[in-house]
């Protein structure tokens, strides 16, 4: 232990689009710096070892567990956290769909899921259920059993696709993508491991996609 002889570092980074500077110890994680130095407590610590994904943030466009990144490593980089997902008063479609479909119970894992799901849809606008399940496999949720989370991401993807291009799907078509939970139709075949696994090809050109989606305003409002 070298306490108290510690030298603070000054770190400058862009946080949710704003230039920020903060002090940290050399061993401080990005997660602790965000939460303690910048007061951005929306990013959560569930484990501190990269196993739960509650601390997921974007670092220069890469999805990371902020508990596994030193704050000093973020020098000069662009950090995006849950606090930057909504644009002004308008929720991102992923956020709106989480609310509409009841995809959170306690809500503690929710920020990590939303950051991760947004990152997925920016890279891969039309993922299959299996692709969503594997992309989000690094995020633990203990309340929901993931069912409604997966449905919310499917619906958010559909909404984003409709925004970006000329509408290809009518409202009814979109609703058909996620079956009504009270519907007794056969949904057992939805989730099979034989579905196309995540292919690297799906993620090519991710930077361009991320920029386009990330800079566009999302007019989606929650319906009361």
């Amino acid at each position: 232990m070298n306490y108290p002889a510690m030298n603070k570092l000054v770190i400058s980074a862009t946080v949710n689009g704003d230039a920020e500077s903060f002090l940290c110890d050399p061993g401080t994680t990005l997660l602790d710096a965000l939460r303690t130095e910048l007061g951005l407590t929306g990013t959560k610590e569930g484990c501190g070892s990269g196993d739960c994904g509650a601390c997921t943030v974007m670092l220069d466009g890469a999805m990371v567990c902020s508990c596994l990144v030193l704050a000093a490593e973020a020098e000069g980089m662009a950090i995006h956290t849950i606090e930057g997902v909504a644009e002004g008063g308008a929720l991102h479609p992923v956020q709106a769909k989480f609310l509409e479909l009841g995809a959170l119970q306690c809500g503690f894992c929710t920020p990590g899921f939303i950051v991760a799901a947004k990152a997925l849809l920016e890279r891969h606008p039309d993922p299959s259920e299996t692709e969503i399940r594997y992309w989000l496999a690094g995020n633990l949720c203990r309340c929901t059993g993931y069912d409604k989370i997966i449905r919310a991401v499917i619906e958010a993807g559909a909404e984003l696709r409709q925004e970006r291009k000329a509408p290809e799907l009518g409202t009814q078509d979109r609703q058909r993508l996620v079956s009504d939970p009270s519907d007794s139709t056969d949904r057992g075949a939805l989730a099979t491991i034989e579905d196309a696994a995540l292919s690297d090809a799906a993620f090519e050109g991710e930077a361009a996609a991320a920029k386009v989606v990330g800079n566009e305003p999302h007019p989606t409002e929650i319906e009361p």
Binding site: T41, D51, C106, Y134, G138, L140, T144
Partner: protein, 755 residues
């Protein structure tokens, strides 16, 4: 008022509106246990035992106290000497002396991770460094982990003042067996001797953890005048208040506990661990102190659900009618008694009519963290054994598993294990819905199997307080003391809106601190929507009466001449007959026409009904790796009436998946030194999204006649059937029955290759 209304009469109940706290939770604004900051706050750290069992000879704190930034050091000696007092919080009961010892050990440490000393300092780094400077001289003692080992003569004894409760006469020697519960009826041995089919076996499992993603966290501030505040993430701010005040010898009114948002609990956050320690540090330092656990602390030192050894003999006649159940189980109590073997006995065969039964439950202590409630505490373990045995009887007799259960299922009026007749329960309706579901008859592929299991949990009601107020503009506030762990603000707003006949969005809900609202029992026992809901409906009904009286006064008519229709006062007779006054109009004039409109209901909610569930699970077992994959899962449950169906389905889906994890992956692994080998999410493997299919939740509505909107508790029973549903599916896929959880690849591989 208590008779449930027919479904068509509802305008809000049964819809799926957005929860009122939703935006805060999808934007990162919601403040959870580890997020709260108080002015001048210090950071705490706790030194924990590296030993499973040891006597503490001495604790040296002077070096730590002298470090820069350190403002306080506390040990178990800082607690006042208190008398033994068993306090019931939620679904278990603990002696407050044991709770204090668990928060900070006094003479002995009883498990690896047991808290020994605590420090508060000006930074987390300083606090973490300071606990390393504390020296503890331990006299290491032999430890015991196993259930039957702990019951043996000569086993290391955890406490010399714990005697087996439930044994008469009271034993004269202390024991690690802290509780025995026995229910007997009929002649079990004769019944089994004459049975056409008997399924018997021994079933085992190690403890599993609740696995909430938010570690425990709190801030405490204890002022020089004796008044204190705690901000914490708990399932019950009132339970924190009563336990902390009792432990520290202060008046409950001097301690104000503010519930922060809670990141999951599942029963595990009905206990206190950090709050009393933060209080001691705060009193010494004169500043607020925050304590937050690491994930390793959570696994090592907070209550897992008990592991179990369960012996079962279940007998049926040739028609599949159960004739006898002989069940004896031993559950881990861990370091301290929790007195919770009872629910396991009640839930073992509570869903079937069995004329002859001998049901014996033991709680056994060992050098592990003290077991705590986990979703239907005590039920899933014994249900795993009983529903596996039911599957064996179905196979022996060649009877369809659902048909076998229908022949034995309890119906309204049948006796509960306690002898009291069941009320309007829906187990048969669940079985019929499972039978009719297309999942039950869908084709299966090679190496695939389908399992089914039923389950029962008693649920609870109990004390709750709620306040409903009309603002000056006619919007509505609802205040309760029940922490919202899974969307209950929405169901409270919906029930108030239904009663007041106003739109859901006109009602907003606050979870108040312990000084701002009267007592409510913990958020647990599947009780909040039922019991706190009853309080909200009662308060809203009083508000309706007041609104009618105020309108009558404004109109100059008798209160009996005003009706409340579509959220408006309607004059029904006299010169003003047919005139209407909106809620907004009444509210605007209320303050000067009789005073503000507000009502509080404080009640002890009776009339709760148990929950029943039937789960169907398809698996595929890989003979090359032993890996079991869940292909399809359908969970059928009697939900009484779903106030907000999304959150009812969410409870069912979440409980089912916790049960799947329990069945396939999750287990505590201790090494020979009594240290936990897997205190993290990497090695304690909870289900992730890619492990699972969609979980189909089928809500069967058999309304509760003792709740205005028909509510039954829904949160706990969904974790009861999955263990056996998965195991029965594996048994039918692989042709081998595994009786030891989890059904990990190594065990399944060995079983498949021993065929």
């Amino acid at each position: 008022m208590n008779a449930p209304q027919p479904q068509h009469a509802f305008r809000v109940v049964g819809t799926r509106p957005v929860r009122p706290d939703g935006v805060d939770k999808v934007t990162g604004k919601a403040i959870y246990g580890p997020d709260f900051v108080a002015p001048g706050m210090l950071y705490g750290a706790i030194l924990r035992s590296p030993h499973a069992h040891a006597r503490i000879r001495s604790i040296g704190t002077s070096k730590a106290s002298a470090l820069p930034g350190v403002k306080a050091v506390a040990t178990g000696r800082d607690f006042p000497t208190i008398e033994s007092l068993v306090m019931t919080v939620g679904e278990s009961a603990s002696d407050i002396v044991h709770v204090a010892r668990n928060c900070l050990a006094l003479d002995k440490v009883l498990y690896e991770g047991h808290a020994v000393a605590a420090v508060a300092a000006t930074s987390q780094a300083a606090a973490d460094a300071a606990i390393q400077a504390i020296t503890v001289d331990y006299d290491v003692l032999p430890h015991v982990l196993g259930l039957e080992e702990a019951m043996r003569e000569g086993a290391p004894l955890l406490h010399d003042d714990v005697f087996t409760k439930g044994v008469s006469p009271k034993p004269d020697k202390p024991s690690n067996a802290s509780m025995k519960v026995v229910i007997e009826r009929g002649d079990i041995d004769a019944a089994l001797a004459g049975a056409a089919a008997v399924a018997s076996g021994r079933y085992t499992m190690e403890p599993v953890h609740q696995g909430y993603i938010e570690p425990h966290g709190c801030v405490a501030s204890w002022n020089a005048d004796g008044q204190a505040q705690i901000w914490c993430s708990s399932q019950g701010a009132f339970a924190v208040r009563s336990q902390v005040a009792s432990m520290l010898g202060i008046a409950q009114a001097d301690l104000r506990v503010t519930p922060l948002e809670i990141g999951g609990g599942f029963g595990g956050k009905t206990a206190v661990y950090l709050e009393p320690v933060a209080m001691l540090l705060s009193r010494k330092a004169g500043r607020p102190v925050r304590l937050v656990m690491s994930r390793g602390d959570v696994f090592r030192a907070t209550g897992p659900a008990p592991g179990a050894v369960i012996d079962v003999r279940l007998g049926a006649d040739a028609d599949g009618k159960l004739v006898g159940a002989d069940i004896e189980f031993k559950y881990h109590g861990g370091a301290y008694p929790g007195l919770n073997a009872h629910s396991g006995v009640i839930c073992s065969i509570g869903h079937y009519n069995v004329p002859n039964a001998r049901l014996i439950g033991w709680e056994v202590l060992g050098n592990r963290p003290a077991s705590k409630a986990y979703r239907a505490p005590g039920a899933p373990q014994v249900n795993f054994a009983v529903e596996s045995a039911m599957d064996e009887i179905a196979l022996q007799l060649g009877i369809d598993p659902i048909e076998l259960r229908l022949r034995n299922a309890v119906r309204p009026g049948d006796p509960q294990p306690t002898g009291v007749p069941f009320g309007a329960i829906g187990y048969v309706e669940c079985l019929e819905a499972a039978k009719a579901h297309r999942h039950w008859s869908a084709p299966l592929g090679p190496n695939q199997g389908r399992g089914l299991a039923g389950g029962f949990w008693g649920n609870y009601g109990g004390p709750s307080t709620a306040q409903v107020s009309i603002t000056e503009d006619g919007s509505v506030t609802v205040t309760t003391g029940s922490p919202d762990i899974g969307g209950s603000r929405a169901s409270m707003a919906m029930m108030a809106a239904e009663t007041l006949q106003v739109p859901y969005e006109q009602v907003r809900v606050t979870i108040a601190d312990t000084a701002a609202i009267g007592f409510s029992m913990v958020t647990g026992g599947s009780r909040v929507t039922f019991a706190t809901g009853k309080a909200v409906i009662a308060a809203a009904s009083q508000v309706v009466d007041t609104l009618k009286a105020r309108a009558a006064r404004i109109w100059g008519v008798e209160p009996g001449e005003v009706a409340w229709t579509d959220g408006e006062a309607v004059c029904s007779s006299g010169a003003k007959a047919g005139e209407r006054m909106t809620l907004r109009q009444v509210a605007a004039r209320a303050a000067h026409a009789g005073g503000p409109i507000s009502a509080e209901a404080a009640l002890n909610a009776a009339g709760w009904l148990p929950g029943f569930a039937v789960h169907i699970c398809d698996v595929e077992a890989d003979a090359e790796t032993g890996h079991v994959r869940v292909l399809r899962y359908t969970a059928v449950q009697d939900v009484g009436r779903a106030i907000h169906p999304d959150y009812v389905e969410g409870q069912i889906q979440g409980g089912a998946v916790q049960g799947i994890g329990w069945a396939l992956n999750e287990t505590y692994v201790y090494n020979a030194d009594g240290r936990l080998d897997n205190p993290g999410f990497l090695d304690y493997r909870m289900p992730v999204a890619s492990d699972l299919p969609m979980i189909e939740a089928v809500m069967v509505e058999v309304p509760n006649p003792d709740h205005p909107y028909g509510v039954k508790g829904v949160g706990e029973v969904p974790i009861v059937p999955p263990l056996a549903a998965v195991a029965n599916a594996v048994a039918r896929a692989a042709g081998v029955r595994l009786r030891d959880l989890p059904l990990s690849p190594d065990r399944v591989y060995a079983a498949l290759n021993a065929r």
